[in-house]
Subunit: 264 residues, 4 copies
């Protein structure tokens, strides 16, 4: 799907606040960024990182007072397949070395604590079917409800609360997959048809030689997701990290089908 | 220091247990592995990973029943400097991109929760002096006492318990440094003069353009540490990770000054 | 059922350790203590507390070095009815004032966190049937397995771990009942036919004007339980609380059918 | 001090919400309620509980839609002494039986986890001086700052956060005192000179044969505190507990010096 994405972050920053903004679409052979523009106001020196091995990029800058970041891009998300139930799970010994880290517990995904539950609940299924069972369980047992969770909420808390937002749904999904020996990683994204429009959090699992993107919230089509950041959990893929406390004024996101260039 | 290290892990494994062993000395220009031998009994197919960007290596295998891993090496740890109080702390914008991940909270190091405490307690110092103040605080306020902590213990629990082992000391140190915007990462090591001999856990901080190794337990000289694994916390650097529960029979570690080859 | 109960606690105490022992059968019109003997060796001054409003008693003493407590009693547990599904749940406004405290969360029973889960899972049932559904859920979803939990384990952890011992089963049951607005309290007990013999932890719910004893572990018949202590959770009903760390040497419990006096 | 207290609670209640309101001044020989008025609008049937052994009272009712509770009273707080450093701590064996429960950990006061810290930090002092040292430590190390804590925050979290409100300060104080074998209990209160006016949370310790009221926030004079509820922690002394979620419209509290009746 060819999409036009735009985000605008307006903040009031404390003096000399360092920021890391992760709002640019990732670049890869599967996700083509046809054009893009990043603008920070007031004009400051910007350091561009990446693309790293995941195609992920972010920018660093130092800001103070009112500040605005705007990112606009035309992105073709290519053909993104739905996870089939039949794809198989790898033995550890078969996994690429750089995938192993996504088996480990992380700040918001304490998978070491969920081995008993996950094995009991999902032990019968395997491969893609197992991940689909995890997604179904989350969708059935957890309510999408803003206001229950905050920046400290980890998957264990969401498992008890039975409510949360996209970030919490993903953390729980990642946690259960890792507890089942399936590599899983967090992905931040622009999401076409997400209502209300916002940054979205989904995750990816490694099965049958590749990464598959899934969305436990079912709030937006997988094909219309534009990958931004990739990491172990939300600690790695926040759209904005700041060295000092700051005050958000407004965060606006829009994702639309891009006008077909051929039509011109 | 030129050291002769040896570890022997004897376990009773469940059938078809996959293992990841991280017991090989890391290789780098600062730490020269002059000779080494890794042997797994019974003989099985071994997959060797790495060295990665950190010079870290591990082996993967599938085992069942009684199994023994033996690693022996002669390693020259080179010249490893003590952290000077004067080295300066970087602004985020100055850090290499691959260092940024060591600012994030992780499974055992929830640094996001310690910003208030760390700022209050260590806000006046800066750079190397700040890290030395963290180390002094830990040494003064936490008792080295086996049996208090377990595989689930994170730095928040150790901060309350005021007791733990080398792994807990390091987690607390890493947590406080990250809360102060200093990149910090976990390091597993062989440690000369550690009594009783065992795998050791220390950490590294990034200051003034480089990584500095520190040991909040003060149990062994920094110069005699042989780096094995590097990661965000113990979740990444366990000497043995297994896909199924297994029973340790014995874990033996020895580190001795290597006989000078020139003497022969 | 008329039972002969005996417990023997042998400990090595630190000098000047104060103890509170809660090992005496509670006295009430439903549970008749026909004879009993409490002996502490070495001979020390003993303070006997109670019976309080619940019929609960405990003894206090100061001990040092090796110490032995022996309690023996003949107790008639009377007729103790099984919880019927039909008994009704009270509105708060109908509850006796001294029952209200058993609606509040406590150290090991953070019921405030389980309202969403409990309402979702057990909201359809009511009264006795609701409590029976809670018991069935615990029995089905949690494994009885020693070694998973310790003195710090609360019901939230057990809910995630899906394993524990009688104390953990009861904490989870109490937590879920309170989250459903049903007063629930912890009861420590001697248990006939418990194998291996040990102190047992069960709980009571307040429905239809009275307290009903239930056992989520199903390890011993309700009719053969001899009530000892009553409280909010294990923090209140430990069989031995000490002011200083101490070392247990042996804890022996036996419960047998009492010989019929009429036979003499 | 003779005080005129008034509280007005306006809520939007879900239909058929049961409430327990704990806003009446406690009655005792030390705290004389000279006159009082409690009014609930709309007019509903009210159940008055107490005074219990602590002189504590609360009212129960069932409400739906908009509802207002108003309480007004003239209370003489009598002579309330400041805790002297010299009062002595009791051995457990000397404590009245009904005081023992205030040694146990509770929902918001997990004192079992703080024995090491408390002993290390306050082990040298004893009796009143020890409690005063705890209060000084809290005042020095914890910031009074609204917005950091919420209804789930326990003393362990506050110990890490180093910030909170009166309720958190009291929970931490209670926790540390219990960890030091000093009975401690939560007290809710009207507080003269508290700015801005609100319900206040303080605590009491049992030393030298009696309960002493202390306030770790130092925000209001001890002599001007009107005791309302007494319990193990905030779970027991909330000014309003409801069986269903409800929406506060306004909570207004005022405490003024009462006009001297003799002036009439």
């Amino acid at each position: 799907v060819k999409l036009s994405v735009r985000s605008e972050l307006i903040y009031e920053f404390s003096p000399e606040t360092e920021i890391i903004a992760s709002i640019q679409a990732a670049v890869s052979s599967e996700q083509i960024v046809q054009s893009e523009r990043m603008q920070i106001t007031p004009a400051v020196s910007i350091r561009q990182d990446g693309p790293d091995a995941h195609g992920v990029r972010h920018v660093r800058a130092t800001l103070g007072g009112p500040g605005t970041l705007v990112y606009e891009a035309i992105v073709d998300t290519g053909h993104r397949a739905q996870l089939p139930p039949s794809v198989r799970q790898h033995a550890w010994s078969e996994l690429p070395a750089d995938v192993l880290e996504y088996l480990s517990p992380s700040r918001y995904c304490p998978s070491d604590r969920f081995v008993a539950f996950a094995t009991r609940e999902f032990g019968d299924a395997s491969g893609g079917a197992r991940v689909l069972a995890v997604l179904e369980w989350i969708y059935t047992h957890v309510d999408y409800r803003p206001g229950v969770s905050n920046a400290e909420t980890d998957a264990e808390r969401t498992f008890v609360d039975r409510a949360g937002v996209c970030r919490d749904f993903s953390h729980l999904g990642i946690t259960l997959c890792r507890a089942l020996n399936i590599p899983a990683r967090a992905v931040s994204a622009y999401a076409w048809k997400l209502d209300p429009p916002d940054f979205h959090a989904v995750f990816e699992v490694f099965l049958d030689g590749g990464w598959w993107m899934v969305d436990p919230t079912r709030l937006a089509p997988i094909a219309g997701l534009v990958r931004i950041g990739v990491g172990r959990d939300a600690a790695d893929v926040a759209f904005l990290t700041t060295s000092l406390p700051c005050t958000p004024v407004s965060v606006t996101v829009s994702v639309d089908r891009a006008a077909d260039a051929a039509a011109a």
